[in-house]
Symmetry: C2
Subunit: 351 residues, 2 copies
DNA sequence: TTGAAAGCGCTAACAT
DNA sequence: ATGTTAGCGCTTTCAA
């Protein structure tokens, strides 16, 4: 690896001249010098040492990205969009960390980023307790979180980019109602993310608007303490058995996310129920996998690429200008009609 | 952020003493000094600046990880295991890159790693052409590739960690044969990865061993030039339509991977065929999602966590000791029986 | 228009 | 057992 001094020698100029062209300060440079420098750089295949540059400037073109588990297709999807945006639009690389929703791991990740001089970090699907985030921000990190903040309205040092969860669930429930369903359930896993409560509110809002408040229940399954890939799906599967036994049995199910919906599909099948013959199911996320399910899953699709763009813009922008105040950014989801929703069976089940 | 000089001042010792405790050179240090230093470090919440350290030592505890797309659940799975092993066993962070199977992006990633002083890189599911890899190795990267190398037997500067693909496909085909299938097909996408040809050989070997060589065909669909998440599944879906129309129609299908199998399941269903009633399908990979399919997909499971361990051990090990020669590491897959394989229909279809 | 030199925070040889 | 110091490769004043 050649250094800036090698290039200077090769070009017969000083290192500061090389540094100047490296950093685009070429306004008052003679054409000839510039060319000689460029030739030398090319000849030596020279690349500036980032560590040295960073030691001087305090900056490095990297971002941290924290996810519960990159094996989860939804986080994989977001991660891909984030990494691509960071790279293609801002030439930043991405350091990835899996947290398994473990706070100590999150803190360790922030520490390492700081030690490496990485100042921007994107946190996907956080724990509800944001205190260690605020602490990391005080230590110098610029943070953007995917998903809503825990206490809406409260001041935060963190950007929050999320989908309009209320609207997403409302859309899902309204679709079911429109198809004729009168006995609804919102199916979820207990207390993991913030988005949950807003979704429940949206679900209820749709039911109330249709005069169905008394027929819209929330069915809730607990997750294990340790993070597993199929955790969500397992909850769905387990809950499906319970749902199958309920009287009256709901005919329209809104799942808190696509993964849980997959579990529902599998569990309902195991319980001898047909989807959408006996029960209709609608997911939320819009993973490409949903189109492959049997039946293809109707779902509420999140505008992931657009959200990822905003996420990256915000970290980079606020790193460049610390004066920018953190904000909340809400995106609108869309219904994706497929085959898991149909009219309810003619004979109301369970009655 | 405090520096080593701040700590030295606080503890009333020299910077080299601080550096010594930072680097574990504390054999002949007085108990008292050590304690004073540790107290000072804790008091200032001091963390060594990695960039400065790296500028001195030339090392940084980071690894690169290159995948075609982290949105693909299989790569997400491997990535998670790799990141976890790197972090928990070697305290290395991971820089992630999506390549979309684009060689220019791969080269750009290597360049950046080198500029950042990252010396180890893990490449998952490479392009067949490995020349730019060898070039990156010459420039100083230690590389480990997931999946077999292009020309077995040829010398390589790269470690290759892979599953025994021949055995995987043989296992799959043998399972189908054992269940009574006599008309088999190996279903794949054309020419993307190396593993393909070995799988085909394994598939054929199983057929030949059962005297079924003439009844074991390979069905091959082409992928689009640009990388898409559902690329594999799309191929499977498209091919399913073709398979449904074949006469005699194969009753036992071995898919080159789980994703393609998902497409097969969806496409077969669309063609009005039942799995496993009319056609049996077996995948390869063992993604957790396979258990959620309808029917739950029988598959050949790869020992991903063990492979990831080896991958990480190799990069780290060879970075520490460049004298270690690159090698090939083969892992044994296992059959995971689920519901997508059954005996063939009594009336041979298509005859 | 170009060059000299200080210094970013750390490590490690060398001195004491 | 502890301290002094050169130098890793770069950026950036300041001087010429």
């Amino acid at each position: 690896m050649s250094t800036i001094a090698d290039v200077a020698r090769q070009a017969g100029v000083s290192v500061s001249t090389i540094s100047n062209v490296l950093n685009g300060r070429i306004e008052r440079m003679s054409r000839e010098t510039l060319e000689r420098v460029q030739t030398a750089i090319a000849a030596l295949d020279y690349r500036p040492n980032r560590a040295a540059r960073q030691l001087k400037t305090g900056h490095t073109p990297m971002l941290g990205l924290l996810v519960p588990s990159i094996a989860n297709p939804m986080y994989g999807y977001i991660a891909r969009e984030v990494e691509t945006a960071a790279q293609e639009r801002f030439e930043h690389r991405v350091v990835l960390g899996n947290t398994y929703r473990n706070q100590a791991k999150e803190v360790g990740f922030f520490d390492d980023l700081l030690a490496h001089g990485v100042r921007g970090v994107i946190v996907i699907s956080s724990l509800i307790d944001e205190r260690h985030f605020e602490h990391a921000v005080q230590r110098g990190l610029v943070m953007v979180s995917y998903d809503r903040r825990a206490t809406p309205g409260a001041a935060s040092a963190i950007d929050h980019v999320s989908v309009d969860n209320h609207e997403a669930a409302r859309l899902a429930a309204a679709h079911l109602i429109e198809r004729g369903h009168r006995e609804l359930a919102f199916v979820t896993a207990s207390g993991v993310t913030m988005s949950r409560s807003e979704k429940i509110r949206g679900f209820r809002a749709a039911a109330e608007a249709a005069g169905l408040a008394a027929h819209a229940r929330v069915i809730d399954g607990s997750t294990s303490s340790e993070y597993g890939d199929s955790e969500m799906a397992d909850v769905g599967r387990r809950l499906a058995a319970r749902i199958a036994a309920e009287r009256p049995r709901p005919t329209g199910l809104v799942a808190v996310n696509d993964m849980l919906a997959y579990g529902l599909l599998a569990g309902l099948r195991e319980a001898g129920l047909s989807v959408p013959g006996d029960v209709s199911v609608i997911g939320m996320d819009g993973l490409f996998l949903s189109a492959l399910m049997s039946p293809a899953l109707t779902t509420v699709r999140l505008p992931v690429p657009a959200m990822a763009q905003t996420i990256v813009e915000r970290v980079i922008g606020r790193m460049a200008d610390p004066g920018i105040a953190p904000g909340e950014f809400l995106f609108t989801p869309e219904l994706e009609r497929r085959d898991s929703v149909a009219a309810p069976p003619a004979t109301r089940s369970g009655t």
